[in-house]
Chain length 422, copies 2
C-alpha cells in the first residue's frame, strides 16, 4: 500500500527522517507491507533545496503547497516553536491530514486544541518524537500501559541538562564551563534557557501527563526550577552523601490530586536514574498492575529521533488509531503544601553560635534535621554548612530559608535541593 | 463500544486479568471508549468456578463453549504448555476470533503456523505477555522500532534464573540453596528445568527474533546453556574481576547472518544489565537509527503480567492490527565459529608445571591469555586456577578445554563462562 507524506522543516531531524525512510524502505515494507513515499519537502530556507535534491524529492519553500496537496495523507511538522507550526498543524488537520510532530513546546501549550481538532476530523496526531527522542515511551504508555494506573513518574527528559550535570560531576567543572562545553559540542543551543531552566522538561512532562490522565496541565501552575543554580560543590557533597543530582520531571498521583514539578533532585546513588550518563534520557513509572518500569535511551539528536518520527508515520499510514484520552477528574496539588526532604547548604561565617541560630529557625518552623556537617574550619571567613532535613512542607521550608538568609553571618542565597526516595 | 472476550485458564495470570479488567474498567473506557466484557471463563478444574462466581462471570470447564461462542470476539488463552493450548488457539483462529496469549513455549515452537493462520483469517494474535511480563517490549519493538534495524539484543528474560544468581551473589549461597529458596518463595517451579536450563529464555528470544527479523529460529539450532553449572566461587571471582554473572539471551546480526544463543555471561559491573536485581527482567537493544535502548520491569507474576494481557485485549478490541512480519533472508551462525572472550576456571593440583602445561594447550589452539590468577596455595591439593582469554573461536576453546580436562593434575570438568563487552 502506497502512502504519501510531506515533510515541513529540513533541520537535523527532518534530514534524518528522509535518510531513514530511504535506507530502511525495504525493511519497512517487509514488516508492514507499506510503501512510504515522501511526496514533497519544505523549508523556508531556499538553500535546503539541495538536500531535497539529494533525495530526489520535490522541494518547496511554501508549506501550504504541502498541507493543501490532496495527494498527501500525512504532514510531518519538524520546524518546532509555536508559530507558524501551530497554524500549519491546524490547517493540516482541518484538511483531514494526519500529522506527525516532534514539537513538545507546541503540544504542551496547545495539545488540548490539537487533539480535539484531530478527533473531530477523524485523523491522527503522532508525537512519539516529542518526548525522549528515540525511546518509544509514548506508545509504551498510551498503548502498552493502557490498562494501568500510573501512580508516579520520575523522568530525566532533557539530555542537555543531564549532560551538563554529568560532566560537572565527572570532570569537576563549574556549571558555566560545562554549559560552554555542551554548546561547543552542539548539545546546547546558544540560548540554552529552555533546556537549562527546566522549560523543555516541563513540556515533556505535560505530554506524559496527558497520556496518563487525559489532562493538559497549565504550564504556569507547575513548579519549575532549572539547574543553573547547581554548583560543583553541591554535586560533590551530594556524592559524599551517596546521591547524584539530576534534573527530574516528577508526577505523583494520590486519589484525585496530582503533584507535578520539575526541579533538581538528589537521587540515591543505587537507583537506575542516578546512573543515566551523558545526554541519555530515562523514565521510571510506578504503575498498577504493571509495577515499576524503566525506559532508557537516546533523548535527542537527529539520527535517534528520526526513529520515532518514522514509527509514527508508519503506524498512522497503517491505519491504526491512537486512543483519544478523556480527562480524568483531577486537581494539581499546591506546591507549597508538598512535603519533601531537603538538602540545605548555606555559607556561614565560621564563628560560634551559627549552628544554634540556624537550628532555632528550623525548629520554630517545626522542621527537624537529620544530618549536619560543617565542611571546614576557616575562622572569620565563610564556610559551607550542610544540613539534611526530615520531611517538611515546602512553604515552611521556604519561610525558614528566607529567615536564614537574613542572618548577618549567612552569605545568601542559601541552596536547597530536594531529595527523592525514588 | 462493547467487546466480549472469553478467558481460558484461571491460574495466577488469568485471575489477575479478571481483577484488572474489573478494577480498571472505567479507566480503560475513559482512555479508549471501549467496554471490555468478560463473557465466559473456563478452567478444567471445576473448583475454579468459585473465582468466576466472585466476578459474576459464567463459568465452564469446556473451552469449546468459549471458542465456538459466536458472541465472543477475543479468546484469551492462559493455560500454557503445548497441548491443548495449540489446538484451542488454532480452532479459535479458524473461527475468526483473535487470540491473546502469554504462551511463549507454544509461540516459539508453532509461531510460524499460528501467525500465518491468523493472517489468513484476518484476525490478530496478542502476545505482549509472552516476553518480559509487564514490560511493553513487544509493542515497543514491533511498532515503536518499526523503522529500525536491530543489530544486537542482550536480554535478561527469565526472572527465576536472575533471582537465583542474584541471591547467590548477595547471600553467598550455593546454586542449590538459592534454587530451594526461589522454590519456597513460589518463584521457581518444582521442576525448575525450563527456567534454570535456559529453555524459557530461548523461547522468549525466539519471539524477539521474529519481531526483529520475521524468522522463527529452530529451537534445537540455538546454543542454550543454563545456570545449574554456575558455582558460588565463580560468582565471587567474577565480582573480583568487576563482572556480574547473568543468564542472557543474545542476538547479534551481521549482514545476512544471525548469532543467537542463551548462556551465562560475565557482564561488566558498570552496565545497566549487571544491576538487574531479584526477578526483574531487562532488555538492551542496539539499533539503527534509534541507538541503544533499554527496557526494564517485572518479568513475571500474575499481577504485573495481567497488564500486558489487558493491553493486548484493549488494542485488539480497538481494531488496531499488528504488523505481519515477513521473513528476512537470514541464516543462523554456527555457534562453533563464534568468537568470544572466556573466563576459564579449573581445579588443579598445586604443583609446579601445571600452568605451563595448560598454557601450552591454549597456545597450541592459538588462544592467547590476558589474565591468570592462581587463587591460593595448598600444596598437593586442588586449587582454583583462573584465566581470562582474548577472543577465541568457540570450537578452539572447546577443544582446548577437552585436552585440559584430560590432564591428570586437573580435576574436571573445568568451568567456562563467556564474557560480553556489551
Amino acid at each position: 500500500m502506497l502512502k504519501k507524506i510531506g515533510v515541513i522543516g529540513l533541520g537535523t531531524v527532518g534530514q534524518e527522517v528522509l535518510a531513514t525512510l530511504k535506507r530502511n524502505s525495504s525493511l519497512i515494507k517487509r514488516r508492514t507491507s507499506l510503501d512510504i513515499a515522501v511526496h514533497k519537502v519544505c523549508d523556508v530556507k531556499r538553500t535546503k533545496g539541495k538536500i531535497a535534491k539529494k533525495f530526489s524529492i520535490p522541494f518547496t519553500t511554501d508549506p501550504y503547497s504541502i498541507i493543501n496537496d490532496p495527494e498527501i495523507d500525512i504532514v510531518v511538522e519538524l520546524i518546532g516553536g509555536i508559530e507558524p507550526a501551530y497554524t500549519l498543524i491546524k490547517t493540516s488537520l482541518q484538511n483531514k491530514k494526519s500529522i506527525v510532530t516532534a514539537n513538545k513546546a507546541l503540544l504542551a501549550k496547545q495539545g488540548r486544541l490539537i487533539f480535539n481538532l484531530a478527533a473531530q476530523k477523524g485523523v491522527s496526531v503522532g508525537f512519539e518524537a516529542s518526548v525522549c527522542g528515540a525511546i518509544p515511551i509514548i506508545k509504551g504508555v498510551s498503548e502498552g500501559l493502557v490498562g494501568c494506573e500510573v501512580d508516579k513518574i520520575f523522568g530525566i527528559l532533557n539530555g542537555t541538562a543531564n549532560y551538563i550535570l554529568y560532566k560537572m560531576e565527572k570532570e569537576h567543572i563549574s556549571f558555566e564551563r560545562s554549559l560552554s562545553q555542551a554548546q561547543a559540542k552542539g548539545l546546547a543551543e546558544q540560548d540554552p534557557s529552555l533546556d537549562v531552566e527546566g522549560g523543555d522538561t516541563l513540556h515533556k512532562l505535560c505530554i506524559l501527563i496527558y497520556l496518563c490522565y487525559g489532562v493538559w496541565p497549565s504550564l504556569s501552575k507547575v513548579y519549575t526550577e532549572g539547574i543553573a543554580g547547581i554548583s560543583l560543590q553541591d554535586i560533590l557533597y551530594a556524592q559524599e552523601l551517596n546521591y547524584r543530582i539530576k534534573l527530574l520531571a516528577i508526577a505523583k498521583k494520590e486519589k484525585k490530586s496530582l503533584d507535578l514539578r520539575v526541579h533538581p533532585v538528589m537521587v540515591p546513588a543505587g537507583h537506575p536514574l542516578s546512573g543515566v550518563s551523558l545526554a541519555y534520557n530515562a523514565v521510571t513509572l510506578h504503575t498498577h498492575p504493571a509495577g515499576e518500569l524503566l525506559f532508557f535511551g537516546e533523548g535527542a539528536g537527529g539520527v535517534p529521533t528520526s526513529s520515532s518520527v518514522v514509527s509514527d508515520i508508519v503506524n498512522i499510514a497503517s491505519g491504526n488509531k491512537a486512543f483519544a484520552r478523556k480527562e480524568e477528574n483531577i486537581k494539581l496539588t499546591d506546591f507549597n503544601e508538598v512535603k519533601n526532604q531537603y538538602y540545605f547548604r548555606c555559607m556561614v561565617q565560621d564563628q560560634p553560635g551559627v549552628l544554634a541560630q540556624i537550628s532555632r529557625i528550623f525548629a520554630s518552623s517545626k522542621i527537624s534535621i537529620s544530618y549536619v556537617n560543617q565542611k571546614m574550619r576557616n575562622r572569620g571567613k565563610h564556610v559551607p554548612l550542610i544540613m539534611i532535613t526530615h520531611e517538611a512542607r515546602e512553604k515552611e521550608m521556604k519561610k525558614a530559608l528566607q529567615e536564614i538568609d537574613k542572618l548577618s553571618m549567612v552569605q545568601s542565597p542559601s541552596q536547597l535541593i530536594r531529595i527523592e526516595k525514588i
